[in-house]
Amino acid sequence: MKLADPVPPSLAQWLPSDFEPTVAVTADLDGEGCFGVSWVAADGRRVLALGGGGDRSELSLEDVTAVRIDELFGASRLVAVSDGSESVLAYYSRNLVGEFALFARALDQLREGRPVELPDEIERAVCGTCGAPLPERGATCPRCLSRGSIVRRLLGILEPYRMRVAALVGWATLAVGAAMVPPMTYKLIADRVLEGGQHDELLLWVGLMMAAFLVGAGSQFMTAWSNAWLGARVVADMRAQLHARAQRLRLTYHNRHESGELVGRVMNDTGELQHFLIDGVPYFLVNLLSFATIAVILLVLDWRLALLVFLPVPVLVLGGGGFWTLLRPLFHKHGNRVGRLHTVLGESIHGVRAVKSLVQERRREGEFGQANEQLFGVHVTVERTFQGFFGTMSFMMALGTVLVWYAGGRAIIEGVTGVGLGTLLAFVGYMALFYGPLQWFSAVLNWATNALTAAERIFAVIDQPEEGSPVVAQAAPTRVEGAIAFEDVRFSYERGREVIKGIDFSIAPGEMIGLVGKSGAGKSTIINLVARFYDPDSGAVRIDGRDLREMELEAWRRQVGMVMQQPFLFNASILENIRYGVPDASFGRVVAASRAARAHDFIAAKEDGYDTTVGDGGSSLSGGERQRVAIARAILNDPPVLILDEATSAVDSETEKQIQEAIANLVQGRTTIAIAHRLATLRNADRLLVIDEGKIVEQGTHEELLAIEGGQFANLVKLQTDINRLRAEQTAWKE
C-alpha cells in the first residue's frame, strides 16, 4: 500500500521545495486538538510536520531515537522521541489509527535504513468517494450504494426460479384484468338493461360479473400461492448463504460484531425481506397495474368526471409521503425502545442471583418500569399517528366520491351527453379500486426501503472476505510432521495496536512448549496464529518449513487439536460431542479415547451413559467433565499438533490431577503448545517461552528459567508459591 497523502492545499505554501516525501499522511486534528488539517511526512532523511497557521516542525531521522503512538481519550498522537525530548508530530482522531500505525512503522523502517514495506490493504473509516463516515471501518458506504444494484442482485437470486416468477406475474395480471370487469358490468346493466330495456341481457351481464369475480378470486389465490413459495424460497436461500458465510468469516469480523447482531441478520433481516417479497412486491405490482389501467378506463369513460376522481390524488400521495417521513424516526425509536426493554429484561433474568444477593429487586423493577413506560409512550404515538393518517386519508377519498356523485348526478339531471347512470355507477365501482391502493403506495415504498436496507445488510455479510484466503492454495500434507516456526511475526487485532511485536521461535516435531506470562501478554494470540484464526500482519508462521498461508485452511485445522479453558460442547449426546470431528469413528475408538481422557468412568456412571445429552453449551456437565470430554474429542481426532489453553484452570485439585493424566496421554508424540495459569502444570514442558507485552523475554527449561536471578519466570513462580503457601496456611488455620 502506498501511504502518500498529498499535502493539503492550505498547507502547501509551508512545504520546503526540496522535500519529496516517501510516506505522508494527513491528520484531521490541529495542534490544539480542534478539527482541522495537519500533515506529516518523511523522506529518507527527515520527518516534517505541518499544521495550520504555518506551524512547522522538522526533525532529522538520525536524531529520532523512537517513534511512539499515545492513545489519548478520544484521540491519539504521534510522538517522536529525540535526545531525551519529545515532539508531538500530529494529533488525530480514531478515524486515522490505522493510517498512523502504518506511518509509525514506515518511520521505523526509514530510521533503520530499510525500504518502506507496508501491508497492501488498509480499511478506512471514511468513504473515499463521498467523504461520509462509514458505519464500520472498511465497510461499503450506504450513501454511495446504488439501490438499483441491490434490486438487481435480489432479482439475480430469483433467476433459478424464473418460470415460477413468470407464472406469478401471469396470475397477478389476470387478477387485475378480472377486477376491471365488474364495474363495467354495472354500467352495461344500468345502460342496456335498466335504461335500454334489453331485459334478456341481464343474465348475461350478471353471469359475466360472476365469472369475473370467480376468475379474480382464483387468480388472487394463485398469486398468493405462488408468491408464498417464491418468497419463502428466496429467503431460505439467503439464510443458508448467510449462515454458510458466517461460519467462514474471519474471526476479526466476529470480534467486532456481537453474536446477536449476526443472529439478527440471519433471522430478522431475512424475515423483513420475506415479509416484503411475499406481502409487498405482488401487492405493489398488482396495484400499480390496476391503478394505471383504471386511470385509462376512467379517462375513456368520461374525462371530466375522471379529473374529479384524480383531484385528491396529489393530497393522498403527498400526505402518504409526509406520513412516512414522520413515522420512520418513530419506528426507529420504537425499535430502540424494544431493544432497551429486552436488555433490561435479559439482565433481570440472567442476573437474578446478583439482583437478589444485592437486594436490588426494587431497583430492577424501577428500571424495567421506566423502559416499559418509554416503550408504551412511543407505541401510543405510533398508533395514534397511524389512525390519524388513515382517518384523514379516508376523508379525502370520501371527498372524491362525494364530488363524483354530485357532478355526475348534476350531469345526468342536466342531460350532459355521455354521462348516464351506467357511467356514474361504473365510476363509483372503479373509484374504490382506484383510491384503495393509492394510500399504500407510499407505505410500500417505505417498506421497500426497509427491505432494501435488510438486503444490503445481508449482502454486507455475504460479501465479507472468507478467512484464510490463501496466498497460494496448496493442500496440507495428509499428516504434517509438526515443526512450527514463528519468523518475526507481528500482529494486531485492531490496526495501530500491535499485540505481537516481532516474535521468533521454533518448535521441533513432538516437542512440548509452555507459554507463560501475565494476562494480555499475547499468549492466546500466539495460539490463535498457530490455529490460523488470524494471519500475521507481517512475518510468517511456518509449519514444516511451509508458510501457513500457503496451506489449505481446512486441511490444516484438521491437524490441530485444541483444548480450551472453557471448551464448547454442542447440545447433543456425549457420544456425538466426542466424535464431532470424526463423525464416522467407531464406538470402540470413542471409548478408547474417553478412557485415555479419564472420562470413561464418569460417562459410564451416568444414567444415559454415552447417550447423555450435555445440555446447552454442556451445562449439564461439571467443568472438569466438560474438559475431559473435550480432551477425549481431541484424542479421537489424533492431531499431530495440539494446543492447550489453560485447560486445567478453574477445577479442583482432584479433577486437575485427572485432567493432567488425560493430558499426559494426549500430548504423547504430538507437537504441543500449552498455556497454563498454574506454572507447576508446565513442569513437563520441554521448553518454556515467557511472553511479555507481545515479545519473548525469556526462554528455557523450567529449571533454567528458575535459575535466572530476578527473571520474570522466577518472579512469577515465587509469587505463585507465596500465594499457595498463604492458601495452605489459611486452610490449616481454618481446620
Binding site: C34, L72, Y91, S93, T453
Partner: protein
Amino acid sequence: MEGVDDVFETHLTGISRKGGRLYLARPDAEEPIVVSARYLRPLTSRSEIVFLDEKRQEMVTVRDLDALTGAERQLVEKALRERYHLSIITRVEDVDIRMGTRYWRVETDRGRRWFAVREPGKNVAWLGDNQLVLRDPAGNRFEIPDLAALDPRSRRLVRRSL
C-alpha cells in the same frame, strides 16, 4: 463508610515537565518519575486525578485540581487538556438515517464534524436525564453535557433520533 474521603490526596507537590513529559518527584524515589495524569471519572465527573507511572501503576490520586497550586497546577491542566479530546456538541445541524445508520452533522467546541452512529442502544450512553455521549464506529466520542441547553431544533433532532 468512615474515612472514605481520605483515599484521595488533598495536596500534591513535586510536579514538573521536561521534554514534553510530566514528572513527579516522590520522597521514596531518588529521581522524579515519568507520570501521566488521568481523570478517574472522565465522563461523569472530572474531579479526581490519578497519576500513573510508565507501568500504569498508581502513584498518587488527588481529589481534584485544587490539590495543586501555581505552576504545577498549570502543568497538570495542560497535560489533561492534551489527553482528553471529548468533543462537546453545541448544535445539531442534521441527523439523517440511512440504512439503519444515523449520520450526525454537528457543531462542537472543536469545530464541525460529520459522524455516524450505529446501534444507538450500544453506542449512545445516557449519563443523566439530559447528558449523553455518542460513540461513532471508529471510537470517537461526542458529548451533549446538557440537552436542555441546546437550541430547540437541536433538541428536537436529538429526541427524534434517539
